[in-house]
């Protein structure tokens, strides 16, 4: 078997994989499964992340996850409902008035309750790690390029706004450096005032430049569609989104009539898709070097979907295996189907093509910026 050429896997495939993994994780409090999912995401990120700045941000998501677990534990000790029988930490409890009776302020901390809180925190942390993995593996700019053509303008606006922050930072650096070269190395509030104005001016100039460039490339010309059709498209999209919102509410709230649930949601989604298609008919855009969707993409997406499906099957057949037994405390189960699903989700770490290697280090910074 020949090694596939290094290329970036389609960002939508990575997002599908990550969402599948997050769905799988969201149904369980079993620490073995949670830690396995975390290990799987770390493995895939370590093996297949690109070399862009956001690809290095996965570590930040892990830190965020740890902070979440810590906060969850602290909140449990402070205001959580302490259940369990194994006394861990005897603490005094504050008596609250009857209108706040649902809150237990302080009180003895039991092992079972603390463990339950930690596992709930860990579950959220792993879900966030999944999203972080998608962010590290998929280039957001490339993802926006594969939007439907009706959303093309919105996508372009999002790309512009996403790149504002790094540009602003660069602008500040440039102005400060220029001032220092002129012997004005001031710090503090006075320096901020002196730097802010040039930066503002710089930003305005840049945005005007960008607008001119985009205008010359044909952005913002929406006059091709006749007036009536534009109104129709707008109405269809609006009604579709409204139906989506009502349908989602119906699905989440069990007391609403059944008709307001899934049927409304499906109709809303169909109407939105129709609106996007109608709106996109008159927008003709081309993509420079579009990302292909080949076997590796199917494999990535499929492995994520399989992980979610495996956990769902276990949740249907043996829901006890997905929960940490806390009442009474016991050893968590190791449901084979769910474990197999999570291990399948690790396959993209070896079976997808490697990401393109970064340019050698000798290249100066400016050149890298152009290449990106």
């Amino acid at each position: 078997m020949t090694r596939p050429l290094p290329r970036a896997v389609h960002p939508a495939a990575w997002w599908g994989w990550a969402v599948g993994l997050a769905v799988a994780v969201s149904t369980t409090t079993n620490p073995l499964l949670l830690l396995l999912a975390l290990a799987v995401t770390s493995l895939v990120v370590a093996a297949r992340r690109g070399s862009s700045p956001w690809a290095r941000a996965f570590r930040l998501y892990l830190w965020l996850g740890m902070a979440i677990v810590a906060v969850r534990l602290v909140l449990h000790v402070l205001v959580g409902l302490k259940v369990g029988s194994t006394l861990l930490l005897p603490l005094p409890e504050a008596r609250l008035p009857s209108w706040a009776a649902g809150i237990q302020l302080g009180g003895d901390v039991y092992l079972e309750g603390l463990l339950g809180a930690a596992l709930l925190g860990l579950r959220l942390a792993v879900i966030i790690a999944c999203i972080g993995a998608a962010n590290a593996l998929a280039n957001p700019k490339r993802l926006l390029r594969s939007l439907p053509s009706a959303l093309h303008e919105v996508g372009a606006a999002v790309v512009v706004s996403v790149s504002v922050a790094p540009q602003l930072a660069e602008s500040v650096q440039r102005v400060r450096r220029a001032r220092q070269l002129r012997g004005d190395g001031g710090r503090g509030l006075r320096a901020v005032r002196r730097i802010a104005l040039p930066v503002l001016e710089d930003t305005l100039e840049r945005s005007l430049l960008l607008a001119a460039a985009m205008d010359s490339r044909g952005y913002g010309r929406s006059g091709a569609a006749p007036e009536r059709e534009r109104r129709l498209t707008g109405a269809v999209v609006l009604v579709g989104l409204l139906a989506c919102a009502i349908g989602l509410y119906g699905v989440l709230d069990a007391t609403t009539p059944a008709l307001l649930g899934t049927p409304t949601l499906v109709v809303g989604l169909a109407l939105s898709a129709l609106g996007l298609w109608l709106g996109g008919r008159h927008v003709r855009t081309t993509t420079y070097r579009p990302d292909p969707w080949r076997g590796a993409e199917w494999l990535t997406l499929g492995s994520g979907v399989l992980a979610a499906a495996a956990t769902t099957v276990v949740a249907r057949t043996a829901p006890d295996a997905l929960a940490m037994p806390l009442d009474p405390l016991g050893v968590p189960a190791l449901p084979l189907v769910a474990v197999a699903g999570l291990l399948v989700a690790a396959l993209p770490a070896v079976l997808t093509p490697e990401p393109p290697r970064p340019a050698p280090r000798v290249v100066v910074r400016g050149a890298v910026g152009v290449a990106a």
Binding site: L38, L43, A46, A323, D327, G330, P332
Partner: protein, 280 residues
């Protein structure tokens, strides 16, 4: 335990009133409302049948309930929410919060008073001794049984507790009579009465006045036969109730933990190696 109770309830229905009355005799500590100002009376109303029992143990309402019945919590809220009591409802998988149309409503009341829908959860409410807590399955209705009043003549004080029999573990449903240590508790009514201490008079604590079936202080004590197979007093029942229901699904403890941990370490180690190779 749950199966046992379900089966027993059915058995009682078949046996009829006489059997129930005799079974009350055999289950002294749990049969009906508490007699004095000690203990917490627990009323459990499944919507179709109602039962009253007395818990001698204190603690939160959850702990009290667990001492007289088998309680299953939803998977997502272990130990703090009631999903299933004595096998009711059987249809709820007990994974999430039960729906608002079919849940166990939690009430409390003074003896002989009226029910109050509890504003706090079952795990954060601590009933005072001598009060009543009630559970009703449905959409939040009150238990149909009124909170039992204190018996007017608290003559039979629970002075001597019945000794726990040597085999306090009724694992199997009691279709087959199980010979207990002293007095051969047979399923037939006559043998039950032959238990030591279970003379026609009060064997122990609370339930004594109910030996003649009609005179029971609790309006309906169908849960009475809980103890009948081998009379397990309060404490014995607690350990039974907390017995894991699905031990077979959990596999062998340490082996599972070891295998799972090894798997996690293996994958995490792979991640570490991959990260290290990229950096190098």
């Amino acid at each position: 335990m749950r199966r046992l109770l379900a089966r027993l309830c059915g058995a009682v229905a078949a046996l009829g009133l006489a059997g129930a009355g005799l079974a009350v005799v055999a289950a002294p500590a749990q049969a009906a409302a508490c007699s004095g100002s000690t203990g917490v009376t627990v009323v459990i109303d499944t919507g179709s049948s109602s039962s009253t029992s007395c818990a001698s143990s204190g603690g939160t309402a959850m702990a009290v309930l667990k001492s007289v019945a088998t309680v299953v919590s939803p998977q997502q809220f272990p130990g703090s929410v009631v999903c299933r009591i004595n096998g009711t409802p059987a249809s709820d998988p007990c994974v999430r919060m039960p729906p608002a149309s079919a849940y166990w409503g939690f009430f409390h009341a003074p003896r002989g008073g009226s029910w109050t829908y509890s504003s706090t959860g079952v795990a954060s409410y601590t009933p005072a001794a001598g009060t009543v807590i009630g559970f009703r399955f449905g959409s939040g209705q009150q238990p149909r049984t009124a909170p039992p009043a204190t018996a007017s003549s608290p003559a039979p004080k629970p002075t001597t507790k019945p000794k726990p029999t040597p085999t306090p573990a009724p694992k199997k449903p009691t279709a087959k009579p199980r010979p207990t240590g002293a007095g051969a508790t047979a399923g037939s009514s006559g043998a039950t009465a032959a238990r030591p201490g279970a003379t026609g008079a009060a064997p122990s604590g609370s339930a004594s006045p109910s030996a003649p079936a009609g005179a029971s202080p609790s309006p309906s004590s169908t849960l009475a036969p809980t103890g009948s197979p081998s009379a397990t007093p309060g404490d014995g029942t607690t350990t039974l109730a907390s017995e894991p229901t699905s031990t077979e699904a959990r596999g062998s403890g340490a082996g599972t933990l070891l295998a799972g941990g090894a798997l996690v370490l293996l994958v995490a180690g792979g991640a570490g190696v991959a990260a290290w190779r990229r950096r190098g």
